[in-house]
Symmetry: C2
Subunit: 237 residues, 2 copies
């Protein structure tokens, strides 16, 4: 009896994973409109009704994909935050984690873009919304924690009227904006941006330099550190 229950449960989870896998593919292939419940059902060789027993609607599938990725991102960020070095090195490690995340979950930015598109968010369940918000907060906490450590250690002093979260907002928007532009602009080279990932690294560094976060980027080789973090922390699993 126990075994049958778990077998069913296992089948259910497998099916759910398969749905998400198919959805990921469709989304990558042709965006929000390309994700079709009919086609998922057809490719799964199940009826539509069964798919709807897993996800109340299309938007739930998309949010589930986002949740999956965000959970993994927190994992990466937490690992990065424990890097044994000064605060400026630790914030660089977070940058490395962000790069790693983009490589492991290349579909995520497309998903987040869809979720942030009004009228999608509204259709999703409270639980998944809650989960997404909590992931966002958790991310914020991890990073602003490093900022606070830097303040405590005297590596950084906050400018007038600015909170640590304002700095995090800067890193966040710089990253988010850069990756969205990279993902959706097929001709960055033509406008003179040859290596956007390297440019992002530098822009982040210079922003932190501007805040006065020591040691400055000319005093250490942060790109090398980021490569090292990615090799040593994120190479396996």
């Amino acid at each position: 009896m126990l075994t049958t229950l778990t077998r069913k449960e296992r089948e259910r989870q497998q099916r759910e994973a398969k749905i998400l896998q198919l959805a990921r593919g469709m989304l990558r292939e042709s965006g929000y409109l390309g994700l079709s419940m009919d086609r998922i059902a057809a490719e799964m060789e199940y009826s539509k009704g069964t798919i709807y027993q897993h996800f109340r609607n299309k938007e739930e599938i998309i949010l589930a994909l986002a949740n999956e990725a965000l959970e993994a991102r927190i994992e990466l960020f937490e690992q990065a935050a424990t890097w044994p070095g000064n605060t400026r090195e630790r914030i660089s490690a977070i940058g490395a984690a962000a790069e790693e995340f983009v490589e492991r979950y290349p579909h995520y930015f497309a998903v987040e873009q869809i979720v942030r598109s009004s009228s999608i968010w509204e259709k999703t369940s409270d639980e998944r919304q809650q989960f997404m918000r909590s992931c966002e907060q958790r991310c914020m906490q991890i990073i602003s924690g490093i900022v606070r450590d830097a303040l405590a250690h005297g590596d950084l002093t906050m400018p007038k009227n600015r909170a640590p979260e304002d700095l995090v907002f800067g890193l966040w928007s710089l990253n988010f904006g850069s990756y969205i532009i990279m993902a959706s602009s097929n001709s960055l080279g033509e406008v003179g941006i040859g290596d956007p990932v390297a440019a992002l690294r530098d822009n982040q560094s210079f922003m932190l330099d501007g805040y006065g976060w020591r040691p400055f980027s000319h005093e250490a080789d942060y790109p090398a550190l980021m490569d090292r973090v990615r090799r040593e922390v994120f190479s396996d699993e």
Copy 2:
């Protein structure tokens, strides 16, 4: 004959403007899915076929809205670029223009987000795509022009392996990312970001400081300058 032609032409343009106006409203109200050709037709008291004579499809309407706004943005940026001051002041004036743009075209970021969503872009006409790309390039040129002036005047020296466009990419993504997040995150206050617009101003300034662009933000009152630019340059029309 000439008069009848122009009258017709005038009516056509008025109708087109009305379509775009309605579309703007629907888009702001409820996003891409909320924009319905049927509803536009109904509210215009024209049949659907007539609407389709103006725009080949839904996506064309969205791109038309983007084009409208981008044209206006170039206007604003060009005005800002002529500000009579040092290069650092001129790049701040561009920041002021960007703020002004967001206030005048609050729907634009939602539109750009939709356009950047894959499978939307593909459905639009080459002409409008071309126009959008040329606007983007033009913007890039205006700003990288100021960067080059700064290099020529010795206000700034480019770091190793970086082109002026990489700096512009930084400002671009910082702005774009910040405004997208602001527009779609209804609870920034809860995560500790009280005044995101002020934070964006500072983050931009600090990034430019990090690049070593003189005079530094602690040597001048750039926020005050931006307020002044907005008052003196963008108050009328």
